[in-house]
Amino acid sequence: MHFKGTVHRYGRDVDTDVIIPARYLNTSDPAELAKHCLEDLDPTFVEKVQPGDIIVAEENFGCGSSREHAPIAIKAAGIDAVIAKSFARIFYRNSINTGLAILECPEAVDAIQDGHVVSVETETGTITDETTGQTFTAQPFPPFIADIIEQGGLINRTRKVLGKN
């Protein structure tokens, strides 16, 4: 898949409590969750985010709770991809399962600045900073995970395994 959008850049250890505070977890409606995405970290995020935008962050993005509401909120807020130096384990799984594109690429994170326009090619892991012209290559997904993504997520893959398609 190809994505292109403006970067919102954050630091390390962006936890799931700031991605979607628990005070809003009395619902699982994506549109409701999106209204509060990242509000405790960056209250302006929801106002400035545009459909197709990209988040760039340092290490351990998505640490903390197992709430799948976190990648759901990010996706519903309009973000197509998150590029980070590393992801917390449960967030990584949840993103694969819910179809939020995630890319691990420390070099890209170091180079890309807030507000840059970046394009992402998920199949090849190619990240291009359109503002500077620099390109980077993210860590490729292991084949098993690439297969889940290719089949449209874990639910579709399981349906296929169970012969439900």
Partner: protein, 422 residues
């Protein structure tokens, strides 16, 4: 003969039907238990329904615990809990716990014998790693993984590397399991064990009762850990015998098993510890935190809401009053702990010291209800996370500690140690 393996690797291999596994290997495993709560189960149920099966894989191997916003805090959370309740009734889920029987899930399931040594468990709650203290491999997942687990009883795993923590020696007085795990997270950071299994061993661990061991494994996730295992010994067996419903299996790491890292810690180096805002790794000795005034103390949660935690808090609060500027909220984590607090006279101590005692709930730990902080307020809490806005307003602050330090701080009005009291 199979390669030498860690206990984490052995449990995963056994559940994948393999003689051996190696770190990095992707495997599909049979699960002994799938867990979800009132926040994560509604999405798991929604995903389960998309799979296209009518029934769960085994209604006796699923635990649904409405504990986060139960007793329900508002209409929306009541609707979420109702989705879980209706599903539990429709599917005949054995381990559904209604309000009145309910407790904070990770205190409840070990107590009720639903989890045991050698189990492979996934839970749609990050603190599912708690059961590692019983010698199980248990790990937090999201709702989609849990939904697939409900349908198939299976999950995929990447076999993690293990880190061995050897904690040997005599613990200092007042040092608890909570201080040990805060000390470790302070050492290695909030992603120090990312994607890895943590294994805790050594004479200091062996000296701990089960409740304190559960506190240690509970916070493995705060170092990024996938699991936090403690070898089974006589303390574990005494806890599990007569309690665990199913036969349990002990898996012990081979002496020549490979670890990504071995970290030796002298028990004597660990002191009562407090994690400052806004990361559990931001630790300092409690003795260096006396200038921090507090507005609230919370004693409870899946980390420290068990009977031993209640006893430690009561020992400090006995004959004393909570500082007039502090709200001290005590939440026994299960009905059984609550009842035991009454039977042992702890409840009288709490009420006499002007504490508010709540029915079991996760409530304030995640900023749900039952003790939310206003702008700029500070709390000391025996909970597990102190992220921005975790317990309320984004400008509020949470300091993590053991029950004894939280209780002493509640009396003092600032962070302090039991020995600071008259």
């Amino acid at each position: 003969m199979a390669r030498p393996m860690t206990m984490a690797e052995k449990i995963l291999a056994a559940h994948a039907g393999l003689e051996e596994v190696v770190p990095g290997q992707l495997i599909e495993c049979d699960l002994d238990l799938v867990l979800a709560n009132d926040i994560t189960a509604p999405i798991a149920i929604q995903e389960f329904k998309k799979v296209g099966v009518d029934e769960v894989f085994d209604p006796t191997k699923i635990a649904l615990v409405p504990d986060h916003y139960a007793p329900n805090k508002d209409i929306k959370s009541a609707e979420q809990a109702k989705i879980v309740r209706d599903f539990a009734r429709e599917q005949g889920i054995t381990h559904y716990y209604e309000v009145g029987c309910m407790g904070v899930e990770h205190a409840l399931l070990p107590e009720q014998g639903v989890v045991g040594a050698g189990d492979l468990i996934i839970g749609a709650d990050s603190h599912t790693c708690t059961y590692g203290a019983l010698g199980a491999f248990s790990t937090g997942v999201g709702s989609t993984d849990a939904g697939i687990g409900l349908a198939t009883g299976k999950a995929w795993f990447k076999v993690p590397e293990s880190i061995l923590f050897n904690i040997d020696g005599q613990l200092n007085p007042g040092v608890t399991g909570k201080d040990i795990i805060l000390h470790i997270i302070g050492l290695i950071g909030v992603d120090g064990a990312l994607y890895q299994a943590m294994e805790f061993r050594g004479s200091a661990i062996e000296s701990l009762n089960m409740d304190e061991r559960l506190s240690i494994s509970n916070m493995a996730i705060e170092a990024g850990g996938k699991a936090g295992l403690i070898p089974v010994d006589d303390v574990t067996r005494a806890y599990m015998d007569g309690r665990v419903e199913r036969p349990y299996t002990e898996y012990h790491s081979d002496p020549d098993a490979e670890y990504a890292q071995v970290i030796n810690i002298k028990a004597e180096d660990i002191v009562p510890t407090v994690a400052f805002p806004h990361l559990p790794s931001n630790t300092r000795p409690a003795s260096e935190a006396r200038d921090i005034n507090i507005d609230q103390a919370v004693i409870g949660s899946c980390t420290n809401g068990r009977i031993e935690d209640m006893r430690q808090a009561a020992a400090v609060l006995k004959g004393r009053k909570v500082h007039p500027y502090v709200r001290c909220i005590i939440i026994p984590a299960t009905q059984q702990v609550y009842r035991q607090c009454i039977d042992e006279g702890l409840m009288d101590i709490f009420i006499e010291s002007n504490c508010a005692v709540s029915t079991p709930t996760c409530g304030p730990c995640l900023g749900g209800y039952m003790g939310i902080l206003a702008a700029g307020e500070r709390a000391i809490a025996t909970t597990n996370r102190n992220f921005v806005g975790r317990m309320g307003d984004p400008t509020s602050e949470v300091y993590l500690s053991s029950p004894a330090v939280a209780a002493a701080s509640a009396v003092l009005g600032h962070i302090g140690l039991p020995e600071d009291l008259d």
